[in-house]
Each structure stands twice: as structure tokens, then as C-alpha cells.
Amino acid sequence: MPATYEPIATTTLSSSATSYTFSSIPSTYTDLVLVVAGTFTNTNSGGNLRLNGDTGTNYSTTALRGTGTTVYATRSTNRSFIAGNEDGSSSGPWIFIWNINNYANASTYKTVLVRASDAGAYVSETAGLWRSTSAINSITFITFDPGISSGTTLTLYGIKAA
């Protein structure tokens, strides 16, 4: 019974950035888990994911989000990223946990699950789709308005099934 759940790479941002990319991800695991903990530099920011550098409108989501007063069911289609949260009311601190199961298969579209938590603003869970059959070899965590704060940590884990 082999042990698994290994850290592949980790970083703590030493300065604010609009994105961070894990590249050359080995295909030897079954699932990936990306944990991102930190803050944004602006309250309008959101945490998003792009795969293999694809900037095309090949992503979509179905989401459930609670703000403390209201629960929202939301959907996005034909986007250029998977939105991990749709709430722009807080800069954090927040946590994103992204589960990317069966990421190395080259025959089906990829489904991503993400739980996002900002105790001061919202909690959400999202199913995201990347309409590509390519094996995932790079993951970019990205925000657009305007950045991820210095001190934010990003860790990518690999889980390997027997």
C-alpha cells in the first residue's frame, strides 16, 4: 500500500503578482490538489484557474455561494478561466482548495472542484469544466484586478492511487 499525497511544489509570493504558474507538472499522479491561502490587493479581485496556458473561452462553472445573508446559484459559460469565487466584496484573507481529479488523462474533458472560503465575506463551492482532452501539465492561479498579495502561499500536491 504505497503512501501518497506529496507536495509537488510550493511558493510564498515575495511581492504581489497577477498570477502564479506551476509548470512541468509530472503526469505520474492520479489527482492534483492546489491549496492557495492569502489575500488580494483589491476587494474586486477573484481567484481563477487556467490550465495549460489556454486563454481561449473553453471554461465554464456551476457554483453555490453563501454570503451570510444570501445563497446564490450561479453559472458561467464560455469563459477564459475557471472562477473559484464570484464574490468581489473582500480582499481576504481567503483559502482556495482546488481538486483536479484524473488530470493526466488525455481522452476526456477535465472537471475541477474548488472550495473557496473568506470568513469575512463568503463561502463557495464550484464545479468547473475545461473543454480540452489534453493532459494537464501546467496550472495558473490568476486574478485580474489587480493582484495577489505578497505573502500568499500556493502549494500543489499530487495524489497517486495504487
Binding site: 500500500m1 504505497p2 503512501a3 501518497t4 499525497y5 492520479t30 489527482d31 465554464s60 462553472t61 456551476t62 457554483a63 453555490l64 445563497v71 446564490y72 446559484a73 450561479t74 453559472r75 459559460t77 464560455n78 481538486n99 481529479n101 484524473n102 488523462n105 481522452s107 476526456t108 474533458y109 472537471t111 475541477v112 472542484l113 472550495r115 463551492e125 464550484t126 464545479a127 468547473g128 469544466l129 473543454r131 495524489i159 497517486k160 492511487a161 495504487a162
Partner: protein, 178 residues
């Protein structure tokens, strides 16, 4: 660490068994589950052969039991356009909307906490769903197994709501040490 000895970091997350399906399959059973872990986790990338609806429930049977009155469940769900919650008190409902269906692949992560306990009923929680660029569901769900007396979980049978698992589905069981 003792002087002169190398650091020993015991592995905490262990792969126990996996079903990587190469044909459509009615159900999968993890049997003879070791009682040496604190928690279990099942990770699924899969879909059913069901049609029409974008996700299927994950039907769970513990220790071979499908006694309807021994199971209960709750869910919180988004269909993309409406949020809902509900509860069931029968075996067949399982964890709601956990895997893909109707040609759409889905994912879920299911936790079985303190599964060896014989002094409290087993409770399972899962997060799962699928998206198909215009349809899909995302859900948080839980299942309680409450037979006449609490029992340690030694086997887990999983099927997609009475449908068959599609070829290509990947269902993996892990043990987590305490």
C-alpha cells in the same frame, strides 16, 4: 528525532485500492477495508450511463447493507440557476449529485471519518458535481448510516444511483492515519 538517526516522517495518506473501470460496471465494492486508519477518503472521477440529467447521486452501502430505513441524507445543491436543500431517509438516495451523467464527467471527494468507531453511527460527507458549459450541478451532501447498533465500516459499495458506472470511471480509496 534521536541523535544519529535519520528523520522519519510517517506517511499519512495511503492508497488502499482503486477501480479504474475499463467496461461499464454496475457497482464497485471496497471490501476487507483495513481497520488501521483513522479516516477514509474516496476520490472519484466518473460518470454514469444515465441520461437526461447532468449528475447522478452516489449510492453508498456499508457492510453490504441496503436496508432502506438505516440510511439518511442531506444535501445543499446549486443547479446553476437555483439553490436548494433537502433531506431523505432512505438508502437509495445516497450523496446527492456527486458524479457526472448523460455524457458529462464529474468529480467528487468523499470523507468517511472515524470509520472504525463502534460507539457512534457512521457519517459521510461529500463535495461533488459536474459542469457541461451550460448545465451541471454542484453539491455538498452527507449520509448517515444508523443500523440497530453502530458498526465499524469494513466494506463500501458505490454505485451511481442505480445506474452503471461508465468505462473510464476512476474510483480510489485512501486511508488517512490519525
Amino acid at each position: 528525532m534521536l541523535a544519529g538517526n535519520t528523520f522519519y516522517d510517517p506517511a499519512n495518506f495511503i492508497s488502499i485500492a482503486t477501480f479504474a473501470l475499463t467496461t461499464n460496471t454496475t457497482s464497485v465494492t471496497f471490501s476487507s477495508i483495513p481497520q488501521t486508519y483513522k479516516h477514509l477518503q474516496v476520490r472519484i472521477y466518473g460518470k454514469s450511463e444515465g441520461i437526461t440529467y447532468p449528475t447522478d447521486n452516489l449510492q453508498i452501502s456499508f457492510n453490504g447493507s441496503s436496508t432502506s430505513g438505516d440510511y439518511a441524507s442531506h444535501y445543499l445543491l446549486s443547479s446553476g440557476s437555483a439553490a436548494s436543500s433537502g433531506a431523505r431517509t432512505t438508502w437509495g438516495d445516497g450523496l446527492f449529485n456527486m458524479v457526472g451523467r448523460n455524457g458529462t464527467w464529474g468529480s467528487c471527494v468523499v470523507d468517511f471519518l472515524d470509520y472504525t468507531s463502534t460507539n457512534k453511527f457512521a457519517t459521510v460527507r461529500g463535495i461533488g458535481g459536474s459542469d457541461a458549459n451550460g448545465s451541471g450541478n454542484i453539491a455538498l451532501s452527507s449520509v448517515l448510516w444508523h443500523p440497530s447498533s453502530p458498526a465499524a465500516i469494513t466494506s463500501i459499495t458505490l454505485d451511481p444511483n442505480g445506474n452503471t458506472w461508465s468505462s473510464g470511471s476512476h474510483i480510489a480509496l485512501y486511508g488517512i492515519k490519525g
